[in-house]
Symmetry: C2
Subunit: 378 residues, 2 copies
């Protein structure tokens, strides 16, 4: 009777009603019935992105959307600044290098953030910079970056494009694409949108779209011009994962029902309770600006994070994420994304505490539970 619980920052749990919706017999993607769904889904995505622009749907992981961003809005030899404070910031830099961009990495310690004033200085000193690529939340460290302020800075630089990776955070924490002046915003299906992996989403501002017109980087499957032409008929250039789009319809309906800002509040409460609970237990957070999408916890001396993740999974059926690359074995990450309630949040905290105690680390678990409970049920 052991249940399985997902607290990983993607894939996240899919609501039962979405799973059942997707289990219906498959429909053809070039029918009026499916196009009507696509139309509603497109509108729902605009709401979640907080944009008036098209949101394109691609059959790929979030990395595919990152590649789409780089290859569509930039040109060979363009110099771009990339916020490298974790694995996914670095991925932007890798993709850019592959396609012949000149990368100016903004190297920051993993878990630290990057100030808007520093960005302004960087852009002033490098007037040839064509874009800034940054995560909204760096999944590998659970750090939120101040994209709103970056937008304000970048609005003063006519030739700079703000590209934001919202893979682990869009729909979970505040993000207003148009209002904040984000030029490219992207995300994936398996995070706050509560779907299985397989779809990614990307939207471009008018300013970014103009850049695509002259981009000389080769692309085909990720060529947004093809998607733009198709979306005018509520269609796709290539066969889309039909069942995921049908699930997405239920997901965007749920976002509308609950309200985007209410959903952000829920995530905020879950994350706050987790942080408070964890700190009361005597543990430390990794990030100087923790995200409400995922909490990264530093593990005490002598605790092997890989082993902790394994123990949680094998003993209790609970999936959490360990550290990646240079943080391997040193942290554990608890996701607050998507489909979960207050009791799930408590379960996550308690499970970490119990496993740590079993591994020989004495923590103040009762205090942690008490504080978390207070926040969750206030």
């Amino acid at each position: 009777m052991k249940k399985k619980r997902l607290f990983t920052p993607g894939p996240t749990s899919v609501p039962e009603e979405i799973l059942l919706e997707m289990a219906k017999p498959i429909m053809h993607h070039r029918t009026d019935e499916f196009r009507a769904i696509v139309k509603e889904v497109s509108n729902g995505l605009k709401y979640i992105f907080q944009t008036e622009n098209n949101v394109f749907i691609i059959g790929s992981s979030g990395t595919g959307a990152m590649e789409t961003a780089i290859t569509n809005v930039f040109s060979k030899g363009n110099k771009i600044a990339v916020v490298c404070g974790g694995k996914f910031g670095e991925r932007f830099a890798e993709i850019g290098s592959v396609y012949g961009l000149e990368i100016l990495p903004v190297e920051i310690e993993w878990g630290k953030t990057f100030k808007a004033e520093e960005l302004e200085k960087l852009l002033q000193e490098n007037p040839d910079i064509k874009g800034l690529c940054t995560p909204l939340c760096e999944t590998s460290t659970g750090t939120t970056f101040d994209v709103e302020s970056y937008g304000k800075v970048i609005s003063k630089f006519q030739d700079v494009i703000l590209v934001v990776d919202g893979v682990s955070s869009l729909g979970a924490i505040p993000c207003y694409m148009d209002r904040w002046g984000i030029d490219v915003l992207l995300t994936g299906s398996q995070k706050a949108l509560m779907l299985p992996p397989g779809l990614s989403f990307i939207s471009l501002s008018k300013k970014a779209w103009e850049k695509t017109e002259n981009s000389d980087i080769p692309k085909y499957y990720f060529d947004l011009k093809k998607y733009k032409k198709a979306i005018e008929k509520d269609d796709f250039p290539f066969t889309i994962p039909v069942s995921l789009v049908i699930g997405l319809k239920r997901s965007v309906d749920m976002f509308r029902e609950y309200g985007l800002e209410n959903i952000w509040s829920l995530h905020s409460k879950r994350a706050e309770a987790t942080r408070k609970g964890i700190e009361e237990m005597g543990l430390e957070l990794l990030s100087e600006k923790p995200s409400d999408a995922v909490t990264a916890i530093k593990l005490p001396e002598g605790i092997d994070g890989e082993k902790l993740v394994k123990n949680l999974r094998t003993q209790y059926g609970i999936s959490m994420a360990g550290g990646q690359d240079k943080l391997k074995g040193k942290i554990i990450r608890i996701s607050h994304l998507g489909y979960m309630d207050e009791f799930d949040v408590l379960t996550a905290i308690i499970a970490v505490g119990i496993c740590l105690e079993q591994m020989g680390y004495k923590c103040n678990l009762e205090d942690g539970i008490k504080e978390a409970k207070k926040i969750l049920f206030s």
Copy 2:
């Protein structure tokens, strides 16, 4: 009480047991449990591809796998011959052009085929050709190409790679990757594999893999070196559509249970019955070498194919495909792919006949049914 029936050459019907399998709660993709599934799926795919080489799984449509083929095994400026006898052959040429290859299009009339002797002559006259790209079945015309003979010809040319698009045909009609000397073989999930769209599959021979080592075409999401490194640990470089892989596990199990060659025979019988039934009704086939994956039927003067497709759908809930590009309105295509039985095949034939009669074309429907029935139940 109107049922919906899919006779489109992708997406095809998904067996109920696969739909329910995929509706189970989502699991994390970096767990021993999922890796065990990936291992079995990988072996199953090798069986379906009839290869000893790795079959890589990508989160994309079939076009993504076509792009993967082009960008991994060729280099800029390489000259390749492309069999252009329909929409998907032309797509290979388009992708090649985008990535700076020199395309030698083998222009053949849509519905016609291309002889191995002509290929031999072409390769002799153009010793600088680095590859031939061809569909196994050209979906847009329902034509099978003689890949086995192409393989024999190409084996005499050390520097030429045979790239085969099996998107609409692999698993449905005979194809032995290793035995036939195919260097690159690719397909998608939503055809003979009886899954929703969202996954594509590609395998490379040793000869093709050697070419990837020196390829100078930029790629990231479709970079097979990343997939090769990951597959050694039954893993993926990027988050894979987990639920589709779980469905795929059931699909490859079914292929093993029934036997690949038996499944080919089933498709052959369905296609033969359809062709015979249609011809008895007084209609003509488009293709000079009709595929057992999909049958393309020329429509009589005065019958608008777009309208026929629409009538089938709105009146009877039946999805078939019309013509694409230059065949728009002129043909109808009935798929024989995947999950269907003898009665479904009869239903398809009868539905076409009834709709044609309603549109004012008198056909010998009874004779058609009789002949088809004979083949199906022999």
